[in-house]
């Protein structure tokens, strides 16, 4: 396992040769273990109600935004829109409100999502193992949960109240996801929010622990970079493009078989070039507002973060093919947690083959 000082050394080394060397190793490993396939997904924000105060987030409880929570028929509208673009892998997100979006609401959302998508993941409030189990048996394949920063002091500074202020509850949620039977787990840090080398080191230790103790889960890592919110900058360190690339490459070298995700926070030019360097999954055609695909015009939307890469799905597909990548929409088949929505599964049940 890489040491903290080794990470520091890599992050502080400005030499072009070092960066190029990391990039070459990362590219070779990614191609060896993943080929040149890039999986595509899209987010749908179900609700921006939030009971936590995270100073850096557009949804936090003190922000005066239009609070919206999708009703079932509205979920259908949004999901139909995204499914029509070809996306099969959906990430459903909510703010962190146990009252506005309880487990029952999330289960209802998963039931609807299964009608449109083959793989359903969620990025929602942390919960107990039994609740994750319930989500899993009701059709959710994966959970995304970021610690944001592993530095306790910094964590306390930016998470002022609400359940998110409980560092340990959030940290242990990753393990509870694994215990629940969930197939996929995505963890990560918000780059710039906390001390970089420390956060990376802690993230790698966390991932190593999970890998070792829950080997059957498919892991992936995300590195969203903290952006200004309403003109305010919450970053304590600058993570420029070179640092960002170093982080992606280092992660790939240390964890050759784990996925690395890239959102539309990053602009098109960076996204296109970084594909060669370790990324395995990207979002496409994204909207980060509740009801942002069909329900509300742009001027009425409150995005969680500003999207830099606004290209629609088919443009992303063309770009990938031009760069000799194979865009993959379908990369999952729900095995034992489908509620019979797929006609194929109902055939199995009818024939008594289940």
């Amino acid at each position: 396992m890489i040491s903290f000082s080794e990470i520091q050394s890599i992050l502080t080394d400005d030499s072009r040769e070092r960066l190029e060397s990391l990039a070459r190793q990362s590219k070779q490993l990614t191609e060896q273990y993943f080929g040149r396939t890039i999986s595509l997904y899209a987010p749908i924000y179900l609700s921006n109600y939030c009971s936590s105060h995270c100073t850096y987030c557009g949804f936090h409880i003190k922000n005066k935004i239009n609070r919206v929570r999708l009703k079932p028929e509205q979920m259908h509208t949004e999901m139909k829109h995204v499914a029509a673009t070809g996306i099969e892998n959906i990430l459903l997100l909510t703010g962190e409100s146990y009252k506005a979006t309880p487990t029952s609401y999330l289960i209802e959302a998963a039931d609807i999502a299964k009608q449109y998508f083959t793989a359903v993941s969620m990025e929602v409030h942390p919960m107990e193992t039994d609740e994750y189990k319930e989500l899993f048996t009701n059709g959710v394949d994966g959970i995304t949960i970021y610690q944001e920063t592993y530095d306790r002091t910094r964590y306390k500074e930016v998470h002022l109240y609400g359940k998110k202020a409980n560092y340990d509850f959030r940290y242990d949620a990753a393990e509870r996801v694994c215990k629940s039977g969930m197939r996929q787990l995505s963890i990560g840090i918000l780059l710039g929010l906390g001390p970089l080398a420390e956060d990376l080191h802690s993230l790698y230790q966390h991932l190593r622990f999970l890998e070792k103790n829950y080997p059957g889960v498919e892991y992936s890592v995300s590195f969203p970079r903290l952006r200004k919110i309403k003109g305010r900058d919450f970053a304590i360190c600058d993570v420029d493009d070179k640092q960002f690339i170093k982080i992606i490459c280092l992660t790939r070298i240390l964890f050759p078989r784990e996925g690395i995700n890239l959102s539309t926070r990053e602009d098109a030019k960076l996204r296109d070039n970084i594909l060669e360097l370790g990324i395995t999954k990207i979002s496409a055609g994204s909207n980060t507002s509740v009801g942002g695909y069909e329900m509300f015009p742009p001027e009425d939307q409150d995005p969680q973060f500003d999207i830099s890469d606004k290209r629609p799905v088919d443009e992303i597909v063309q770009m990938l093919k031009k760069r000799r990548f194979d865009p993959v929409f379908t990369d999952w088949r729900p095995i034992n947690n489908n509620r019979g929505q797929s006609p194929i599964f109902s055939h199995l049940s009818q024939k008594g083959l289940e």
């Binding site: 191609e31 060896q32 040149r36 396939t37 889960v217 194979d326």
Partner: protein, 266 residues
């Protein structure tokens, strides 16, 4: 005019699952940079059996479905990638059959996202159920003789011992264990995983295995179709080498004078 020596080349038939094949190179279809590259590799190698992960098949619809790039006369071997236990593997296999992808299945039961090592015990369980259900079952395993014997009893059509870790391109790290299979197991042996170069494939065939499957090496090559063809040639060369009866390696040095000659001295 010089006389050429006639070599008796009876066609080498590979019998598997009740079918007869003339190519002992199997191709995996994952990791290619395009589905066209995959199609070209199938054509260039002449592979007659390909594996496809069910998780990648767009069962419900649409564009760029990997199935469309696989010729219809190819024997389609769905693999149960994603299954973590026997129950899941059985479910996936049945799903594939119901979706019209035939009843040949490569069982991959892997509860290990780091090394992708197969769970041999669960693989045996899945084989028993699926073989009894009319599937042609090719189970992917770490080369354990006990497990192989169980698989024979369970009705497997072949065994697929790994050469080395999936995607590692390390060749036949498990060579001696595979050699044990060649000596002791009577159903076809198809070496799968870790085959990184045509020489690895030839090496396996020279030992007497029945076929070789490669995926990562071909898919990630600069020229996949060319490498696929090279693999097919290597498999053929290795097979001919085996059939011709390779000279036994002398592992005992010949003494300069007989060691037991003293028994016959007057």
């Amino acid at each position: 005019m010089t006389q050429t020596t006639q070599i008796d080349t009876q066609e080498d038939i590979f019998e598997l699952g009740g079918k007869r094949f003339t190519n002992r190179f199997l191709l995996g279809t994952g990791k290619f940079k395009s589905k066209q590259d995959m199609a070209d590799s199938i054509k260039a190698s002449g592979a007659q059996i390909v594996t496809v992960a069910l998780r990648r098949i767009d069962l419900e619809r649409h564009e760029e479905n990997i199935i469309e790039y696989i010729p219809e006369d190819i024997t389609f071997l769905t693999n149960t990638s994603g299954a973590r236990d026997a129950k899941e593997a059985v479910r996936l296999a049945r799903l594939a059959r119901e979706a019209g992808h035939g009843s040949w299945v490569k069982i991959e039961v892997i509860n290990d996202s780091k090394y992708l090592l197969p769970d041999n015990a669960e693989t045996v369980k899945a084989t028993e159920i699926l073989a009894a259900d009319g599937f042609t079952v090719l189970p992917y395993i770490s080369p354990d003789l006990y497990i192989a014997r169980e698989l024979v009893k369970a009705g497997a059509a072949a065994v697929m011992p790994l050469g080395s870790l999936i995607g590692s391109n390390q060749g036949l790290k498990a060579k001696e264990f595979i050699r044990v299979f060649v000596d002791e197991i009577d159903i076809p042996i198809v070496v799968d995983a870790g085959i990184g170069a045509p020489s690895h494939a030839a090496e396996a065939m020279e030992m007497g295995v029945d076929a070789v499957l490669a995926n990562t090496a071909v898919a990630t090559a600069k020229n996949p179709a060319q490498l696929a063809r090279a693999f097919a040639l290597a498999v053929k060369a290795g097979r001919e080498g085996y059939l011709s009866g390779l000279p036994a390696k002398k592992d005992i040095a010949s003494a300069s004078s007989p060691l037991t000659g003293f028994l016959y001295e007057e």
